[in-house]
């Protein structure tokens, strides 16, 4: 019962966030980039529900547009990490031997760095841009995905149906594609949801440090960074994006837990 409740809350939160992100591409209450110097740092009112920022832009509109940017960056990051990581994990787990050893040596070396530090280094080379962040974070998360996929492949390849596939004359490549890969989907789905959350957080952190999506395009992270000098006089500027990040992460985590329980038959109640 508690499980269903969590899944429902997580699902609602994520639906809200993605819905807002998609809507923002077509419509926001005001142009999130329009500057109005006469309406700087207005408190929340009927005209501006969450007030205006230091150059008079509508905070609600910027939050909506920020949801779009943050979700897009996070989704692309996850996609990049999952595709690249699965490929490495699959090859490594299936080939074994020296291929496995070399791939996992590099992988483990990368894993030893904190993801955000690795991304910072990569961004210093790639330059701060939306695509730079996707590439940097994607690469930073690849080793984690590769590890998980390799583990799943190692356990599935020992099952008899894989040997059965070889015994009927299927090639190794076909066996891998048809019988081994599908088995990695459930651990991957669970990992992907939590990666999505990490990516949103990491993007915010990078933006906060000034290495994120460059202004004036709004993201939750750079809104938070911009709000810092005004926290005493205009607290809504910091609270609003902070709350958005927190609620999104909560949604992702609840949904991830529910998915894990749903996909793993062992954790189902008797």
């Amino acid at each position: 019962m508690r499980l269903r409740m969590n899944a429902a809350i997580g699902g609602t939160l994520m639906a809200l966030v993605t819905g807002t992100a998609i809507t923002s591409a077509f419509w926001t209450p005001e142009n999130p980039l329009r500057i109005a110097m006469r309406a700087r740092l207005n408190a929340p009112s009927a005209a501006h529900w969450l007030g205006t920022d230091e150059v008079g832009r509508d905070v609600v509109s910027r939050l909506m547009a920020g949801a779009g940017t943050s979700c897009l960056v996070a989704a692309l990051t996850v996609l990049a990490a999952v595709v690249l990581g699965s490929l490495i994990g699959l090859v490594s787990g299936f080939a074994r031997g020296w291929v496995d050893r070399v791939l996992m040596l590099v992988n483990d070396a990368l894993l030893a760095f904190p993801g955000i530090l690795l991304a910072l280094g990569l961004l210093a080379v790639l330059g701060a841009s939306q695509w730079g962040i996707v590439a940097a974070l994607g690469l930073a998360y690849t080793p984690t995905v590769a590890r998980i996929v390799r583990g799943a492949v190692l356990s599935i390849r020992e099952r008899e149906f894989v040997e059965a596939s070889r015994s009927i004359g299927n090639s190794a490549l076909y066996t891998m594609w048809r019988h081994v890969l599908p088995g990695t989907v459930s651990p991957l789905t669970v990992l992907a949801t939590s990666l999505f959350g990490w990516a949103i957080l990491a993007e915010s952190a990078l933006s906060f440090l000034g290495l994120g999506v460059p202004p004036p395009a709004p993201t939750w992270g750079n809104m938070l960074a911009a709000a810092r000098p005004y926290l005493e006089s205009a607290i809504w500027l910091g609270v609003a994006p902070g709350a958005c990040i927190a609620l999104t992460l909560l949604g992702v985590n609840l949904l991830g837990d529910a998915l894990r329980d749903h996909l793993d038959p062992r954790s189902r109640p008797q």
């Binding site: 149906f161 059965a164 596939s165 070889r166 009927i168 004359g169 299927n170 599908p182």
Partner: protein, 541 residues
């Protein structure tokens, strides 16, 4: 209970005050009942067999006695009295005292019922410390004496060793030692040897019965194997769908069964029927000096020595015949079977298919060989991809059949499903089928391409006796219709007697005896063959 029973030994035992008395036991979940009104008595020192197939409620009955039912199932009605004390009503503390003390239990899976992180000594000591007042030294002495009794060589070293250092049979003997140490009055043995080969099975059960007689322990032997009932039990209780359908002295139940279900079980015991000698066909697959080495595992700083699993075996399989490869666990028979199909690469020797060398490479001959030889695995639960429909599973080998269009493939798949007795089941997923049905799917996958040879690796040892009988009959019938040869790998000579034309006995990586079926069964020459034959459960003593 009949009057006639009073005259023989088991009857006399039952007439004395019962050690354990179960009355109207009902176990279930909600409206579903797994055990439905079961009553029986066990006299002190008596060996009672609880016989039935999967789903008959025999395991739930055994577990209900100790209050160890799996979550979901509960005791809904009935009394369980151990020497007059109702186990259903005693407080949990008293029940814990009885478990392991007055009542011991041996489980099916020796791999998991010993704790892998504790030494054997610590695990043996645990039960003694709980259920006796012996001092440390006396405990140790008792453990060593018991390990000696269950024929563990070097019992002192054994105390310091961990479970993974022992084979399945040895682990089950250690488990037996642990359970018998506190000298329980009742021993519940739930399929104690199903995971073992016949040799280890006979060893463990002989010991169990000897120990029970020495200590006056009564045994409740839960099993699906009538051969074990014949050999070890005084009385037998036959269960079907949660009810007791027949009860009586073991001999009588087996030799003159009254209930239809018991008759079905008895007729499912493998029999050696006369087999007309088959004309010698041409040689299909031949191994010359086949050798398989497994490399040693690499540890941190060294490589452990490897193992030669198959030591230069010569063997030939002729068209249409069934060759049985028998041996205990670790004899190398499975590896040899895999190597014959090149699923394991041989490290030496030659493999000739229809006279052409197919030992290595992927030449035309090797490819023909791969397509013409198929395998059926032991475990129908792990040999089918859980994400495919069984129709897709059976159709998959046809990918490599040249010149077959989709319609021809669908027709072939449907025809194969009919041939294995599963017409119209192709839309199901493996988990929607029973064990026997899954094994039929595995057989369908093996024969769909009309192979010349099928290697069957223990195809029936994971199945119930009646299902086993049906699958063996199916294999024989398909073979007669389609004329493929079969390499039948098994540790169970009973199953081998049903299907084999020729028998090869394998021990320690080498073939020690071979000959036609009747010669091996009637006049075995090698001591290992004789040991295997002696260990085979059968109805007649």
């Amino acid at each position: 209970m009949s009057m006639a029973m009073q005259h023989d030994r088991p009857g006399m035992l039952a007439a004395r005050a019962a050690l354990l008395s179960v009355e109207g036991l009902r176990v279930g979940a909600g409206r579903f009942s797994a055990v439905d009104g079961v009553s029986f008595d066990i006299a002190p020192g008596e060996i009672l067999a609880l016989v039935g197939e999967s789903g008959s409620g025999k395991t739930a009955t055994g577990r209900a006695i100790l209050g160890l039912l799996p979550p979901g199932l509960e005791r809904q009605a009935g009394a369980i009295r151990l020497e007059g004390e109702d186990l259903a009503r005693v407080p949990p503390a008293r029940l814990r005292e009885l478990r392991g003390g007055a009542i011991g239990m041996v489980f099916q899976e020796p791999m998991v019922s010993l704790n892998p992180a504790m030494t054997i000594g610590a695990q043996l000591g645990e039960a003694l410390a709980l259920h006796s007042s012996l001092g440390k030294e006396a405990q140790r002495a008792a453990c060593i004496a018991m390990l000696k009794r269950v024929q563990i060589t070097d019992p002192e070293g054994c105390l310091r060793a961990y479970p993974h250092e022992f084979s399945g049979g040895m682990r089950q003997r250690i488990m037996l030692a642990a359970v018998m140490l506190p000298k329980p009055r009742l021993l519940i043995a739930d399929e104690p040897t199903t995971a073992l080969d016949n040799l280890a099975q006979a060893e463990v059960l002989d010991l169990m019965v000897e120990l029970a007689h020495e200590n006056g322990t009564a045994v409740l032997l839960v099993t699906h194997n009538l051969g074990l009932v014949a050999r070890y039990a005084d009385r037998a209780l036959v269960m079907q769908r949660g009810r007791v359908v027949e009860e009586g002295p073991a001999r009588q139940v087996l030799s003159a069964p009254r209930h239809d279900y018991t008759r079905l079980l008895v007729s499912a015991m493998p029999q050696r029927l006369p087999r007309p000698p088959r004309p010698q066909g041409e040689v299909l697959l031949e191994a010359r000096g086949l050798t398989v080495d497994y490399p040693g595992r690499s540890r941190l700083f060294r490589r452990l020595p490897g193992k030669r699993a198959v030591k230069g075996v010569d063997l030939e399989i002729r068209r249409g015949e069934t060759v049985a490869l028998v041996g205990g666990s670790g004899s190398g028979k499975t590896t040899l079977g895999r190597a014959m199909l090149r699923l394991v690469q041989p490290s030496g020797g030659q493999l000739l298919f229809r006279g052409k060398d197919v030992t290595a490479g992927s030449t035309g001959a090797a490819r023909d060989f791969r397509l013409a030889c198929q395998i059926v695995f032991q475990d129908p639960y792990s040999s089918l991809d859980p994400r495919q429909r069984v129709g897709e599973i059976v159709a998959e080998p046809l990918r490599h059949e040249a010149g077959m269009d989709a319609a021809a493939r669908a027709a072939r798949v449907a025809e194969t499903f009919r041939a294995v007795g599963l017409p119209g089941m192709d839309r199901r997923f493996p988990h929607q089928l029973s064990g026997g049905q899954r094994q039929r799917v595995a057989i369908a996958r093996a024969i769909v391409r009309r192979p010349a040879l099928v290697v069957a690796d223990e195809p029936v040892s994971a199945l119930d006796m009646t299902v086993q009988k049906q699958i063996l009959a199916l294999v024989r019938q398909l073979q007669e219709e389609r004329g493929f040869a079969c390499l039948f790998i098994s540790h169970d000579l009973g199953a081998v007697a049903e299907v084999a034309d020729r028998v090869l006995v394998m021990q320690d990586g080498a073939i020690v005896e071979q000959g036609c079926r009747d010669a091996i069964f009637d006049a075995p020459r090698h001591p290992y063959t004789r040991a295997l034959l002696d260990a085979t459960p059968r109805l007649a003593p």
